[in-house]
């Protein structure tokens, strides 16, 4: 696969990952390094424990799928990685969860900075009621000032990277709400990558889309893999097997099995995994 350039981050040294990390995600063996790791991670909403002693390592610059029946804790786990759970007062967690050695459960962690490094795409496309241009420019404008030409360049690169540029280049000033569902979701992906994150979290990004839009998003995920660490929550077994390098199967808040996607789907070690991936339950 050809490696698309990463102008978003290269254009600005200030947004590059700090050098004092334990491992450099852009090292010589990117696929070897661990981006996210968790050790006996427990999570609660109020008194209800939704994550049970999770141990998992997620490699940098790969696509990892989280699969499992509804309510198994996949989305909760995802929302701990960029601390979106902070918006839920009753959410708490114990154990360790780290991104390149940074403790993500640290109460004093700068979540604004974390979310600049960990982008998120939601289940339902949620473009802002603004123009297409302003949607993509929203994140970059939060974090630094740009000259108009730099900003336009960044917007074009982000829209190209999310395979939307050709469809919207003539109407960047029209409202994002006029786009189709699939276009809106690709716009949300463009918006997320415009701030140059290291990790992209996708929470069932195709569940509200038709098959054709789904195909284009999946194609996009395969292309983005060269640049970003991607974690995708999905209910669609075929989708997981099509787009991901590794897969983790969750059931009732526990990690049942994880590993290379082709192994997990063709030769699962665990009986529950086999039942789930072959469609016998869930």
């Amino acid at each position: 696969m050809t490696q698309p350039s990463t102008p978003v981050r290269d254009a600005d040294p200030a947004t590059a990952p700090p050098t004092n990390l334990t491992s450099d995600p852009r090292g010589s063996h990117p696929s070897e390094t661990t981006a996210i790791s968790m050790r006996s991670l427990n999570g609660w909403y109020g008194s209800n424990q939704v994550l049970h002693a999770l141990d998992l390592e997620i490699a940098a610059k790969q696509v990892c799928s989280f699969i499992g029946p509804s309510g198994c804790g996949k989305s909760t786990l995802l929302r701990w990685i960029n601390r979106m759970n902070d918006t839920i007062p009753s959410a708490r967690a114990s154990g360790t969860l780290s991104l390149h050695g940074i403790d993500l459960l640290d109460r004093t962690l700068d979540v604004v900075d974390l979310r600049r490094r960990v982008g998120m795409v939601f289940q339902k496309p949620n473009p802002f009621p603004k123009s297409i241009f302003d949607n993509v420019a929203f994140g970059p404008r939060l974090h630094r000032t740009y000259s108009p030409t730099d900003l336009e360049e960044l917007i074009e690169q982000s829209l190209r990277a999310s395979a939307l540029w050709n469809e919207v280049k003539d109407r960047l000033d029209s409202s994002a709400l006029g786009l189709s569902g699939g276009q809106q979701q690709r716009l949300c992906i463009a918006r997320a990558i415009a701030i140059g994150p290291e990790v992209l979290l996708m929470d069932e990004p195709c569940s509200a889309l038709d098959p054709r839009s789904t195909a284009s998003i999946e194609e996009l995920i395969r292309e983005l893999r060269a640049t970003y660490t991607i974690i995708i929550v999905t209910h669609n077994m075929q989708q997981a097997s099509r787009v991901s390098d590794t897969t983790a199967f969750f059931y009732e808040g526990r990690l049942i099995e994880s590993g290379a996607t082709d192994v997990l789907f063709t030769n699962p070690k665990n009986r529950q995994t086999e039942d789930y991936v072959t469609g016998r339950f869930g």
Partner: protein, 311 residues
Amino acid sequence: MAAGVISTSRRMLSNRVFLWSCLAATMIAILLLSVLMVSIAIEGWSSISWRFLDSFASRKPAQAGIKAPLLGSLWVCAICGLAAIPMGIGTAIYLEEFAKRSRLKRFIQLNISNLSGVPSIVYGILALAAFVRFFGLACADEPWTLGDPESLFFIQFPFGPSVLAGGLTLALVILPIMIIASQEAFRAVPPSLRQGALALGSTPWQVVRLVTLPAAMPTIMTGAILAMSRAIGEAAPLLVIGGFLLVFQTPTNLMSDFTVLPLQIFNWAGRPQADFHKLAAAAIIVQLVVLISFNSVAIIIRQKLQRPLQS
């Protein structure tokens, strides 16, 4: 089986009855309004003239006009809006976007709901003590003044029965409505927009400034229209703080004496001479025109703000 079945014709009948009762309810409101408008128009139309708009009060009905109350109403409303709208929006932002669920928040919320039901004359009594007299605490005997009484920037403490005190009084009256309307507007903004902005690394204030406030603004403007419409029609609290019934000048600064249209109407309508009743009707027509133009301006602003939101 058959015992439980309600025939289609019977259901259609109750459907029609319901429809007609709803229509009748609507018609009663419209009918009453039309009767009011028509009777006012018949009585007051002949008195409307440029001279009527451009003259001060007089003992002779033929020479009396509404220059002072008309400009007084505009001054008071402008001050009221400048005070109440930002305060209402600010309170709503705090309660909806920042305050955590706590006993304090519930207490504030309960009191705002209660305050919106307090009769406006009670606010007049509060404002008389607070704004007009500063609770008798400061400069009670001799007002402390700042600036030239003739200039626009003249201020005195306490405010006395001035146009500033009047505007702030009405601000108190409409503040609860303004807060509740703004809160509803913020609640109507989809949470997914907040989440999207947060996930891009916005601070909570950036989320409000860039996403929720712009999205809530059209609805807030609607609330502001309703609140201001109520303010412009208030007479009782201004009567309590000492709004004057006969004023022979227009406001020149925040400390000017003032009267407003509802006070003038109240004054004229209470007189025995029929000619003054005609003037009252004419003043009511002017009041309605002012109200309608207020609302139209606000609707235009709202639509301007709404346009970028639509596809």
